[in-house]
């Protein structure tokens, strides 16, 4: 892997080919906020809060840093008027659904986002997909998935799988930025398999 030199916020940063701008920034301890990113998961590019400005051949572009690959002499700005405006709007849009998420509140303070800008539609889920993708990519169980499309998109546990898999796992719970996931799980459990717990697994099964 060849070494690549790029510039992030005026700082010379070393990276290797194939890395994303976000990875390079984190390695250099430059903070870029994320909501749908997780080291163990494929980059997703859903929340867009990691949007940064890059300069390519004299052109300034707004890109998702979790997906954008590093390139020699790339110039990256992690904060700018445009970037901040985008992040502020994204936070305001999300806080219509999850106004009390600690993660969103902290970012809202940083970017001056108004949690009451849009009429509340408290679904509590911001559809970052961390649970869905973790269950798919890491656990390969697909006990929780997206249903429907567009503005009607939701996460939903699949009772038949959840009844068997979730009790012994629940690794997705701490990933959720809003705690909606736990509520969704408990609701599924209460409605679809109340009191049903699959037997604790034998040690040989869990390894």
């Amino acid at each position: 892997m060849s070494e690549i030199l790029l510039q992030i916020d005026g700082k010379e940063v070393k990276a290797t080919e194939g890395m994303t701008v976000l990875e390079a920034a984190r390695q250099a301890e430059i903070f870029i906020p994320t909501l749908c990113h997780h080291e163990k998961l494929e980059p997703y590019g859903g929340c867009r809060i990691c949007t940064v400005e890059v300069e390519v051949r004299g052109w300034t572009r707004l890109v998702a840093s979790c997906l954008y690959p590093v390139a020699p002499d790339l110039v990256v700005r992690t904060r700018s008027e445009k970037v901040d405006k985008i992040r502020k709007m994204i936070l305001e849009l999300l806080m219509a659904h999850a106004p009390d998420s600690p993660e969103l509140k902290a970012l809202a303070r940083e970017y001056g986002a108004d949690r009451d800008r849009f009429e509340k539609e408290p679904s509590f889920c911001i559809l970052c997909g961390l649970c869905v993708r973790y269950c798919d990519e890491v656990k390969q169980k697909n006990a929780v998935g997206f249903i429907d499309k567009g503005a009607r998109r939701e996460i939903s546990f699949i009772p038949e799988i959840a009844a068997e898999e979730c009790w012994n796992c629940k690794e997705c719970f701490p990933l959720c930025p809003t705690s909606y996931l736990q509520a969704a799980y408990h609701l599924t459990e209460a409605l679809a398999f109340p009191g049903h717990r699959s037997k604790p697994r034998q040690a040989s099964e869990t390894t």
Partner: protein, 547 residues
């Protein structure tokens, strides 16, 4: 049918087909397009079959259910060959008379002819009808002449000669050069030069490469791609095979609508016949070039026509867009170089190879070459599929071809590109149809859906309609698109219902800017275009509802 093994065998077969055909044999061509189907053409087709049987004319008269003729407004359309007598709005009750009088008696039935409402003149042939007369129908003209299920019909009109020429006279590099030189630009909406895209895919590293026909056409008010694909599937397929050869691809994909049974049937028939004839599959025409095609159907969501979502769908995954900041012509389906063009782009290829880049580049404007298919609809006298050379003014399309605005109303605006497009007001009607000119006005041609709006149109309501469409048809993956459209729709709905508040317009502009800049794919990036366009030209209609 034994497989064809050389260019000479193809030409011999073509001669045989033509020899067997009697050019004087009457043929009744009934439009089988989607519009005419809605108007009951199936009953007309059945009535003709019955009548021919009743009069024992089966051996003397052919009946052909063709693809879309174009003039949807006046369907069901029927053309009687060899005289090419054109009847419009034909009902089953007219059929016995048409057979006795016109097919057998060679007499024209006046009352079934198209009558120009302005001059009262009757048109005997399609080309006498102003709707057709003012078009340039290079792609559409064969639709009424061929049975889409008959490869022999396509061959009779010179089909697959371009493929043969590319394979045996030109070679892949020259075929690519020809497309580049013709400056064929992508008809799906972007207008990106197809030749450059092909070249990128050709030069991309890797043995395995894919070519794809995007036949999704999911936007409301667009029905030109299905007209050509259903009516003349071999024309699209021939273009695809030539493209595959030029790029060095051996696997093609057709991605198209799951909800159009006739389109589906015609594509499958075309693929099977082309393979049987040796024009597809292994060792095409004995050239040593192998190419296969697989058909995939959309999953009923508009965003699956977006190129990266479409490629994910072909991979068997959710049709969610996934930009990798690497062009799909370098890394697409399964990370292999994947060249995607839409139906109309592929349909243009064969004629460029046949007639040459210079011929093609002689049509159109400086930077937009050839003809463009348009789906003309809305408040227009002549709804239908229209083909015009680039450079034709919007006024010519609306008035000379479209017959103007019905009910004596005035024109207010022309909207291009459906939910991701824009509207231009009447004052820009003399603008020539051109990718770049229209983009400058904020109404890029898109795929070619052209919606004509009369003076009674509420532009805020139009915007609300498109946002409502998109909020259901976005995949919902990224925040600026999903949540941005949700909020824009709420605000625009309020305004359209007279409940707008101070600051609403500014907020709309702010959301539109963020959605345009930060969304993941082109759906989200352009979802606010109808809003931006109507705010640009019809801001007063928003302001009137702010209290």
């Amino acid at each position: 049918m034994p497989r064809l093994n050389s260019a000479a065998e193809l030409e011999n077969l073509r001669k045989e087909i033509l020899l067997k055909r009697d050019p004087d044999k009457p043929c009744i061509a009934i439009c089988g397009g989607a519009g005419c189907l809605g108007l009951g053409n199936d009953k007309v087709i059945r009535a003709f079959e019955e009548e021919i049987r009743k009069q024992s004319l089966e051996s003397r008269v052919d009946i052909r259910a063709t693809g879309c003729h174009g003039f949807c407004e006046k369907g069901p359309n029927v053309v009687i060959y060899p005289e090419e007598i054109s009847y419009t709005e034909v009902s089953p009750a007219d059929v016995p008379e048409i057979v006795s009088q016109t097919v057998v008696g060679k007499k024209v039935i006046d009352r079934l002819l198209y009558t120009d409402p302005n001059t009262g003149e009757k048109a005997v042939h399609q080309n006498d009808i102003p709707f057709y007369k003012n078009q340039m129908r290079h792609l559409m003209s064969n639709n009424s002449r061929i049975d889409p299920e008959s490869i022999d019909d396509y061959l009779a009109f010179g089909g697959y000669a371009a493929l043969s020429r590319a394979l045996f006279e030109m070679g892949s590099a020259q075929a690519l050069e020809e497309i580049k030189k013709a400056n064929l630009r992508g008809r799906g909406g972007g207008g990106f030069p197809a030749g450059l895209k092909w070249e990128t895919a050709r030069n991309a590293p890797g043995e395995e490469k894919y070519v794809i026909v995007n036949g999704h056409e999911g936007e409301p008010g667009a029905f030109m791609d299905r007209a050509i694909f259903t009516g003349n599937p071999h024309c699209v397929l021939e273009g695809l095979i030539i493209g595959a050869y030029a790029i060095g691809s051996h696997q093609g994909f057709i991605y198209t609508r799951h909800d159009s049974p006739r389109l589906r049937k015609n594509i499958y028939t075309a693929l099977a016949k082309a393979e049987e004839y040796g024009l597809l599959g292994e060792n095409i025409l004995g050239s040593g070039f192998n190419f296969n095609v697989e058909v995939h159907f959309d999953v009923g969501i508009f965003v699956s026509g977006e190129s990266s979502a479409l490629m994910r769908s072909i991979e068997g995954k959710n049709p969610e867009p996934r930009p990798k900041y690497i062009r799909t012509s370098v890394s697409g389906i399964w990370n292999k170089p994947s060249n995607l063009n839409n139906v109309e782009t592929w349909a243009n290829v064969a004629q460029i190879i046949n007639k040459g880049a210079d011929w093609y580049a002689g049509i159109g404007t400086e930077k937009s070459k050839g003809t463009k298919l348009l789906s003309l609809s809305g408040n227009i006298c002549h709804t239908g599929v229209v083909e015009v050379p680039f450079g034709t003014t919007l006024r010519e399309i609306v008035y000379d071809i479209g017959g103007g605005i019905p009910n004596g109303k005035k024109l207010k605006a022309v909207h291009f590109g459906g939910p991701m497009g824009g509207s231009v007001p009447e004052e820009f009607l003399d603008t020539p149809l051109d990718f770049d000119e229209m983009k400058k006005l904020g109404a890029p041609i898109g795929a070619g859906g052209m919606l004509v709006l009369d003076e009674d149109t509420n532009m805020v309501e139009l915007t609300r309609f498109y946002l409502n469409f998109l909020t259901n048809e976005s995949c919902g993956k990224c925040v600026p698109c999903r949540e941005g459209i949700r909020q824009m729709l709420k605000i625009v709905t309020n305004i359209s219902e007279g409940r707008g508040r101070k600051g609403d317009i500014e907020l709309l502009e702010e959301i539109a800017e963020v959605a345009g800049a930060a969304s993941l794919c082109s759906l989200g990036k352009t979802a606010s275009d109808p809003l931006k366009g109507t705010l640009r030209y019809f801001r007063d209609e928003y302001e009137a509802n702010i209290h």
